[in-house]
Symmetry: C2
Subunit: 277 residues, 2 copies
């Protein structure tokens, strides 16, 4: 069966989007479409150009016999700025305010397109980096971690507050919650993380950084190291933060329970040295 160029471009686009950060050989596409490698090469340069112009992502071509093409999911800076501005506006809605000054966020964390964009923005910051796994704490970080994972093509590891019979042997640590100064526990199934892994830590919310710090302690038990720290929301915090070198999409500056005013600005995302598409 022979494929026309238009069909190849559509199928290639779908294939690459579904296989981010994986080397796909020219031979693979040549056999898939019954086409000469020279035609596939031409197709790929059209795809590359369009992906880059339209802010879909970037395509890296690896020359030689073992060569091929690798797709990296990336946002454009314009798309990122637009999304973060919208997010700030949505989070500032006074209806989110809960007793104790907490904010209701489950609607955003449950919205597939919001989560997809959050994942794409955060993944863009780590595209092409050497990451073996993404770690988060149950439960609100899970959709964010999976959204990032779908772009970076690495597994997600979920830390729990308590151990479960369905996980087998576990490693647990105690840590001090940054804001409340209380001792808490974190548990991770022993077989869920390989020794020596490079791990991207993810959470929905960070104030003093206690939870992230707990995950760092847990990593030490696996001889694993931190490859990065990404949070959706960081909160303004007077005392010393326990964590450095993180990326946040938005920053919660102030919550005034009396006037129901919530003040949200963009996080440190744009001050990091991110390569946009």
């Amino acid at each position: 069966m022979k494929f026309r160029r238009s069909e190849r471009l559509i199928d290639m686009t779908h294939y690459l989007l579904e296989h981010p950060q994986q080397l796909v050989s020219l031979t693979f596409f040549a056999e898939r479409y019954g086409s000469a490698k020279s035609s596939i090469s031409e197709d790929l340069s059209i795809v590359k150009e369009t992906f880059e112009q339209r802010g879909i992502g970037s395509l890296q071509t690896i020359p030689g016999a073992a060569g091929g093409v690798k797709y990296f999911s990336k946002v454009s800076e314009m798309e990122a700025r637009k999304f973060i501005a919208e997010l700030c506006e949505q989070i500032e809605n006074p209806e989110r305010l809960l007793p104790g000054g907490y904010l209701y966020m489950m609607d955003l964390l449950g919205h597939p397109q919001v989560i997809h964009q959050v994942g794409k923005l955060l993944a863009s910051a780590y595209a092409g980096m050497d990451i073996d796994a993404i770690m988060t704490v149950a439960t609100k970080g899970i959709p964010i971690a999976h959204a990032i994972a779908s772009h970076l093509n690495v597994p997600v590891v979920v830390v729990r507050r308590d151990s479960k019979v369905t996980e087998g042997p576990t490693v647990s640590i105690n840590y001090v919650s940054g804001s409340t100064k209380r001792i808490q526990t974190m548990v991770l199934a022993k077989r869920s993380l390989k020794e020596g892994s490079k791990v991207l830590l993810v959470d929905d919310f960070m104030k003093a950084g206690g939870t992230i710090n707990g995950m760092i302690s847990l990593l030490a038990e696996f001889n694993a190291s931190v490859a990065g720290i990404a949070v959706l929301v960081e909160a303004e915090h007077d005392e010393e933060r326990l964590v450095e070198d993180y990326i946040s999409l938005v920053k919660l500056q102030d919550v005034n329970v009396r006037t129901s005013a919530i003040s949200v600005v963009e996080g440190n995302y744009f001050s990091e040295n991110i390569q946009f598409s």
Copy 2:
């Protein structure tokens, strides 16, 4: 700026894949590319044909002034059969066996490509149906629910075993666990589900069906109704199952702790009347 057909096809493919189950007007694409609607129409018929031939999904065209195109994410039957066979093989690995006859599944639930495919297969069964939300119970159902949601473009609602201060007022119910006959609690934030919603219930594992049944009781408190039930693994169960009309990808037939033999077969997925791409 003018776009060539090849560029339009690549960008359209990306756009449609990112916006499943949403009506996109011809005018939108015509303005996006500065092209005549007649060219866009031709583009879309090429995309439609390729999507259907390659098992990417289906494209529904809605004629008239308010018309446009809607993309439905669907697997081909061949792809579904291949994936489920691989899944059975992976789950039968005796290394999964934990004390008490439980199976370790966190590696599969944390694997982005496995979860993506699980979501695509289960979403295919409900493509185009009238669904307002997807409900699951924390924590292992969450990645599956989100993967389905990304294809169906509906929000995910997460039920918990305990209430959290960050969720505001909640509704809670007690239910009887199907296998252990113990009384358990389920909690859902009041504002996370609209009254009268049609809800797809999702879980990673179903034995007697107690958890699913608990979710059904919870729905009643919201005057909401069941739009479908989808599970990754159903387990063979001697007594009467509490739940009917569900879809499962695989069925755990037997776990022999003495010989470490795990027997897994395909679930009822192919006996349901699913329209493949």
